[in-house]
């Protein structure tokens, strides 16, 4: 919300379901109480599925409401359950299954050979995590006797990930990466996040 205001945006109100909430109808109904039709949300997994399904069944798309959110809202684990109900949702994340680079193409096809599903962001995170460890261990010849050396080696790791160029911020140890603006579309029978824009080399402000 701070970022939104800094860039000239305003909010009209917020609705906050408690964690572990099962019934989204009260909250989605409450959205209709707001003067705006642009709704940003932060859900993932079960909550995202519940939210999107309720959003549709209470007729918000037909009434002209538009869904925005952090990318986890429409990751593949959610999309495989809600399918085209999420179409049109715009979210931001450091990866999307439709991302057009060589690493991602080979990652997605390798993943699909192993499992019958499209990979989701959690698979990418695990894959990159192991990749980073692998690079670091190679650099120090797998000698893990000195934890500081391992940590230093990890700090210096950089490689081409399915998400694009990947490196660590030396100060915060957060990744420095591109953030993609994605729109959910159903194409060739699969509901996926398509890339509509990108913000390059974003350093996570969190410490």
């Amino acid at each position: 919300m701070t970022g939104l205001k800094k860039n000239g945006g305003t909010t009209t109100g917020n609705v906050a379901p408690p964690l572990g909430n099962a019934d989204f109808a009260p909250f989605v109904t409450q959205i209709k109480n707001q003067p705006t039709k642009n709704v940003y949300s932060f859900f993932s997994g079960a909550d995202a599925i519940g939210f999107i399904k309720t959003w549709n069944s209470l007729g918000l798309p037909a009434a002209g409401y538009k869904m925005y959110g952090a990318g986890f809202l429409t990751e593949q684990d959610v999309l495989k359950e809600v399918k085209d109900l999420a179409n049109g949702a715009i979210t931001s994340l450091f990866w999307a299954v439709e991302l057009d680079n060589a690493e991602n193409k080979s990652f997605v096809s390798a993943y699909q050979r192993q499992y019958t599903l499209l990979p989701d962001v959690f698979a990418v995170q695990a894959y990159d995590g192991m990749h980073a460890l692998d690079e670091a261990l190679k650099k120090i010849g797998a000698d893990t006797s000195d934890p500081d050396k391992v940590s230093k080696a990890l700090e210096d790791v950089s490689f081409k990930s399915p998400r694009g160029d990947f490196m660590f911020d030396k100060n915060t140890h957060n990744p420095v990466q591109d953030i993609y603006i994605r729109e959910v579309k159903t194409q060739n029978g699969q509901t996926v996040n398509t890339i509509s824009d990108k913000v390059a080399k974003v350093t996570d402000p969190g410490k």
């Binding site: 909430n21 009260p26 209709k32 109480n33 997994g45 599925i49 519940g50 399904k53 007729g59």
Partner: protein, 290 residues
């Protein structure tokens, strides 16, 4: 809140309450008859939902699932009661502890069989759309849930008040031991009661699945809400389950949107108030400990 939104929220609350009734009726019945708070009730609910998922995947029929899942849970109940609970008859706290164990096993097996990712179940054809209503569109399925809950409450009430089986249940809830002295086989009565309780949990699981989805942790949520309902309504009485769910469903819905910061506190505040002024619940009676 505009009148239209108020109406829509009322429907949200009623449909939630209707689900709670299906869920809590079984818990209340088992407690009333056997003096056991069945903490596996949430796991039975969860299992019902997953069995329904499999039935729908195999046959495509939600309606078949609505029959098969409660049946499967009923069979499980009729096996578990003599196998486990009966051995601890009269040791109520040990029985409660046992039901926790049963729930852990069931939930773990669900994870092993169906996986631990989030799943969802589509509402059956004909009920999967929305209808125009004051304030916009409203999902047909949630209206169906209200109707189903009310119908079930009506049927169960008639059975409870007007039939031989209902008479046995009312007598057994009051004094099962005395019923035994009058020639009723309480072993069989308890097994049947436990089976019906499990079947009702399974039924609630099927009906809830298209609304709430299926995911790890759903058993705990269901258990807590059903406990709240029976405590508020009055332990072990059918009227209590009806009154409790009719109050808790809408109260939870309005509490969540009107007092966002205290969303979960609202229903527990109701529990505290009810217990303060009516320790036996809205329609509960004082039970004589024997």
């Amino acid at each position: 809140m505009s009148p239209e939104l108020l109406f829509e929220q009322a429907l949200n609350g009623l449909s939630f309450g209707a689900l709670l009734f299906i869920l809590a009726a079984g818990l209340s019945l088992v407690f009333g008859m056997m003096d056991v708070v069945n903490l596996a009730h949430g796991a039975f609910y969860m299992l019902g939902a997953y069995v329904a998922l499999s039935v729908v995947q195999r046959t495509g029929s939600f309606w078949l699932a609505l029959v098969v899942a409660p049946l499967a849970l009923g069979i499980l109940g009729v096996i578990l009661e003599p196998l486990l609970l009966r051995r601890l008859r009269g040791r109520h706290l040990d029985q409660v502890l046992l039901t926790i164990g049963v729930s852990l096993v069931i939930v773990d097996q669900i994870g092993a069989i169906w996986g631990r990712e989030v799943r969802s179940l589509a509402a059956p054809a004909g009920l999967d759309g929305s209808v125009p209503l004051v304030g916009g569109e409203y999902p047909v399925y949630r209206l169906f849930v209200i109707g189903f809950g009310v119908l079930l409450a009506a049927v169960v009430s008639v059975v409870h008040q007007r039939t031989k089986v209902g008479m046995l249940i009312r007598a057994g809830v009051e004094d099962a031991e005395m019923l035994g002295a009058l020639g009723v086989n309480t072993d069989r009565l308890f097994a049947a009661t436990f089976a019906v309780g499990a079947a009702l949990a399974g039924l609630a699981g099927v009906v809830a699945a298209p609304v709430f989805g299926l995911q790890p942790g759903m058993d705990g949520d269901a258990l807590i809400y059903s406990l709240v309902v029976v405590v508020v309504g009055g332990l072990g009485t059918l009227g209590g389950a009806i009154a409790g769910s009719a109050l808790v469903g809408p109260a939870d819905t309005f509490g969540k949107v009107l007092f966002q910061e205290f969303a979960l506190a609202v229903i527990f505040a109701i529990v505290a108030l009810v217990l303060l002024f009516r320790p036996t619940g809205l329609l509960g009676r004082i039970r004589v400990a024997r």
